[in-house]
Symmetry: C2
Amino acid sequence: LGVIPLGERFRDQLPLGDVGLVTLGEGSTPLLASPRLSERLGAEVWLKWEGANPTGSFKDRGMTVAVSRALADGAGAVVCASTGNTAASAAAYAARAGLAALILQPAGAVARGKIAQALATGARLVEIQGSFDETLSVASALAEQGTHVLVNSLNPLRLEGQKTAAFELVAELNGPPDVVALPYGGGGNACAYGQGFREAGAGLPNFVLGEAAVRAETAASAIRIGRPAHEKAATALVEASGGAVVPLSDAEILAAWRDLAHGEGLFCEPSSAAGVAALFRRPPPAGSRVVCIITGHGLKDPDAVARESTDVRSLPPDPKLVAEAVR
Amino acid sequence: LGVIPLGERFRDQLPLGDVGLVTLGEGSTPLLASPRLSERLGAEVWLKWEGANPTGSFKDRGMTVAVSRALADGAGAVVCASTGNTAASAAAYAARAGLAALILQPAGAVARGKIAQALATGARLVEIQGSFDETLSVASALAEQGTHVLVNSLNPLRLEGQKTAAFELVAELNGPPDVVALPYGGGGNACAYGQGFREAGAGLPNFVLGEAAVRAETAASAIRIGRPAHEKAATALVEASGGAVVPLSDAEILAAWRDLAHGEGLFCEPSSAAGVAALFRRPPPAGSRVVCIITGHGLKDPDAVARESTDVRSLPPDPKLVAEAVR
């Protein structure tokens, strides 16, 4: 019915057995041609639009698998340490499943706005007086006690679900692209794509990962991660694929974000443009086929727009005056 | 590739001829089962999740058709009078097409936040010192002068595109539902569904439209429309279908919005819940098949969440204390 949920479409390649799916219609996202980036980079550039997922980010691909399994295993609640997209996704899928969701947030880490989406779907939010690592430790401890299932990306079912985006690309392009460009926060998503391409038996594209040069303080909030949890595996993948990790200034990330919005009409989170920004610094081979993973919707971070917006003219309701003003 | 754009999927039923498509991957949205609403209403209830469209609302279905045609006809710019979802959609599709977008906004009508999405994709914004009707008159006058193509719903190509949602429902359910429930702002979307069901030759469901009882002042900003532009046609459709227009208090709309978020995990704009709220007042026949059209994403209106959110506990990083606090 409508979109086939990824847990159904790829059930044979996921550790789901025959469990009932907790789904909000995730996956099968648009793959958009990118004429302006193609011209600029001298390559065939595509955009995988993950902001179309139910809660507006790629996190939903993993959450449907993790929460389906948690429900089937008799869990009563899920827990995660997060302030952003993971929290929003965990809260929505838990609500869909009829489970409680507990979101642990490091004190003072992020503005309240970032957590609004999780609160809207009924999650319980607790602020932990400590670092992100301490917060994650509390979440893990609750999971070990058996009261909650951990749905951070330490839960391998998360990356299992996220690998399906690589399956989709192989199906859509009749093979893997030559280059895949991704934002690099914790590194889990890059690893999931690597796993997906390997399982598809279709060869490994070059992985080009854009990370914030000053990780802990970047304006690109979804990749504001000091210590990437999957650094070792992500680095190994990049090396095995002949790709690169590209450290970027905020100005470079925001310039790529503006290019996507003004040039292609695609409004994403600033962090989602990090893969594109990395390609500007490390151009793909001429004529190669490139996919940029656009990980989250621009509505996730309206503050980024507010910082950009310009003055607005105010005019009387006279078509002549308006026509003159905008000529 | 990925999602088939609605202009391609339904080209034979749209006034597009063989024009090139301006697409961001719109349409083919999820149709989600709604177990909790089904139980509560004693019917088979489905949710058509239009927030999955590229700019987060159903407006994209019409905008791809209107802007594709405008580009093919040699236009240089589009114009609309809007402060919300229409503006966001017009701006994104214009950027995608390489056209300029001019958004005219009645003075003091809406908060700046509502327009952030349009600004992000490079639209020009002008505030008009007058009412919405005066603002629309200016937009129409610019269109008559030939400098801009009007992409408000007065442009019939908009409703042509929006009718494709009815085609999808007929395909997904192997026939029309018995009841379709929609928010009622300007009335154009209801008319588009009516046209779609008629053209599908599949019989007309009962149309149940939820409108704000105090139209001009409702908190449900996307249906805050004093005078519905398509009132006559929408009323005729409701009567022909044996349905009803249900005036709702803001409390009823917000209660339905919370039910969708907490009960089904679906985070929509408050206005998008008006169809569901209408069903609570006018329950569907027992066992009938009902589709609620969920028109836009919750991230469109984060202020609604801010008004809801509760106190947050702050605790030291001690699993025992956290476990006790959330027990």
